[in-house]
C-alpha cells in the first residue's frame, strides 16, 4: 500500500470516533450557552401576577392555596411535591394541586380550568406560568416528595409499573427510550429515570423553558407529550397515571437541590 494512503486511512480511523465526541461536546456547549440566556424568568413574572389575580365565580386569587405547607406558603412547596393531600384524599403534583385550588378557592369548574392547560409560544397557559412562579420559590431547596403515606407508596409503585408498560401502535413503554444508559433520539440524550443519578437532575430542573417551541413546559405536559409520541391515546390532565409517573420520577430523583425552572431542548 502506498504510504500516503495508509496515513490517510490511519487518520480516518482516529477521526471518526473523535468527531462523534466533538458533536456531543458541542451540543453540550450549545445547551449550556442557551441556558445562560433563558427567558424562563419571564414566565415567573406572569405566574406571579396570575397567582394574585382574583378569578372565577368567587373572584378569589390563589394566594390562600395550600400547596402542602399551609395556605399561601410558597417557599419550598414545590420541593415537597408530589405529596398526599388529605382534603382531596389523593396524591397530587403541582399542577393537579393548582387545579384543585382553582376549583375550590375560585369556584371554577374543572372543565373551564383545564380547557387550555398547555399553551404555546404566543400565549403560555395559566397553568404553565403559575408552575414557573411556584417552582421558582423552591430554588435552592432539596427535592423531598412525600413518601410515607400509603397512597404515596401506591403512587410510586403504580408509576414504576407504568414505566415498563408496553402498549400502543408502536409497542412503546417509557423504557423503550429511557431504558438503557447512553442512548439518544437524534442528538437528544435520554435519561434512564429508574436510576437516581439520572432522575436527580430531571427532578431538579422541571418545569422548564423549551427552546424548540419557545414555550414554557410542565411535567404534566412532558407526560402528555411522551404518550403522544408513544402513539398512545391521550392521558387526562392530572390523572392518577400522570401523577404516579411524575411521583415515581421525583422520588427516584429526590435529594437534589432544586435549580429550576430550567431549560429543555
Amino acid at each position: 500500500m502506498n504510504r500516503a494512503l495508509a496515513r490517510i486511512l490511519l487518520s480516518l480511523a482516529f477521526c471518526a470516533p473523535a468527531a462523534a465526541q466533538d458533536v456531543k461536546k458541542e451540543i453540550e456547549r450549545y445547551r449550556q450557552m442557551v441556558s445562560e440566556g433563558s427567558p424562563a424568568e419571564l414566565f415567573e413574572l406572569e405566574g406571579e401576577a396570575l397567582w394574585k389575580k382574583p378569578q372565577g365565580p368567587r373572584q378569589a386569587s390563589l394566594e390562600k392555596c395550600d400547596l402542602g405547607l399551609g395556605p399561601g406558603v410558597l417557599k419550598g412547596a414545590y420541593a415537597a411535591l408530589p405529596r398526599y393531600f388529605k382534603d382531596a384524599d389523593r396524591v397530587m403534583d403541582l399542577e393537579t394541586r393548582l387545579l384543585h385550588c382553582m376549583t375550590t378557592l375560585q369556584g371554577r369548574s374543572r372543565e373551564e380550568a383545564t380547557q387550555r392547560v398547555f399553551g404555546n409560544a404566543d400565549r403560555p397557559s395559566e397553568m404553565e406560568s403559575l408552575s414557573a412562579y411556584v417552582a421558582a420559590q423552591s430554588r435552592g431547596m432539596k427535592m423531598a416528595p412525600g413518601e410515607s403515606h400509603p397512597k404515596e407508596k401506591a403512587a410510586y409503585e403504580l408509576g414504576r409499573a407504568l414505566y415498563f408498560q408496553r402498549a400502543g401502535s408502536w409497542d412503546f413503554a417509557c423504557t423503550s427510550c429511557h431504558g438503557e444508559e447512553g442512548k439518544r433520539i437524534r442528538l437528544q440524550e435520554l435519561p434512564v429515570l429508574l436510576k437516581p443519578e439520572n432522575a436527580r437532575s430531571v427532578a431538579a430542573s422541571w418545569p422548564a423553558y423549551r427552546i424548540s417551541t419557545s414555550g414554557f413546559v410542565t411535567m404534566q405536559w412532558r407526560m402528555n407529550n411522551c404518550y403522544q409520541q408513544m402513539r398512545m391515546p391521550e392521558p387526562a390532565f392530572g390523572s392518577d397515571t400522570t401523577v404516579a409517573l411524575i411521583h415515581f420520577i421525583t422520588v427516584t430523583g429526590k435529594g437534589e437541590t432544586y435549580q429550576g425552572p430550567g431549560n429543555k431542548r
Binding site: D22, E26, L187, S212, R265
Partner: protein, 145 residues
Amino acid sequence: MNRLRRTVLGALAAWLATPLAALAAWNESAFGAKTPQDALKGIGAANPAPSKEIVIDAPQIAENGAVVPIEISSNIPGTSSLAVVLEKNPFPLAAKFDFMEGAAPFVKLNVKMAETADVRVVATAGGRHYSATREIKVTIGGCGG
C-alpha cells in the same frame, strides 16, 4: 396665516403624526438586503478586513436553528460598533450594536438561523471595518414529531 406660523404648525403636525418607531433610526436598506454583500454595503462596511481580534464564541453545532446563542466581542482598540451577519438567512443582517464611551464592545444574544452557515461579525473602529466568521451547523433535535 403668515408663512412662518404655517411652517411651524406644519412641522408640529408632522412631528405629532410620526409614529414613535420612525424617531429611532432603523437602517431599512441594510436590514432589507438579501445578500451578505448588500447587507455590508448597507451598513457602510462593504469590504471589511479579516481580523483575529474579533471573538465569536458560539457552539459549532446548534440543536435548534430558532435559538442559536452567540457571544461576540472585539479586542480592536476603539471599536465603536459590532454587526452580526447570518450569511444564509433570507435577510442576512441580524443586528448592529453601537457602543458609546463607557460601553464594552461585547454582546451576547440568541439568533435564528435558517440552515448551517457562517456567522460574520463586523467590527468598526476608527472608521475602519474588520470582520471574522465562524461556521455554525444547524441540526434536527428530538423525535421530529
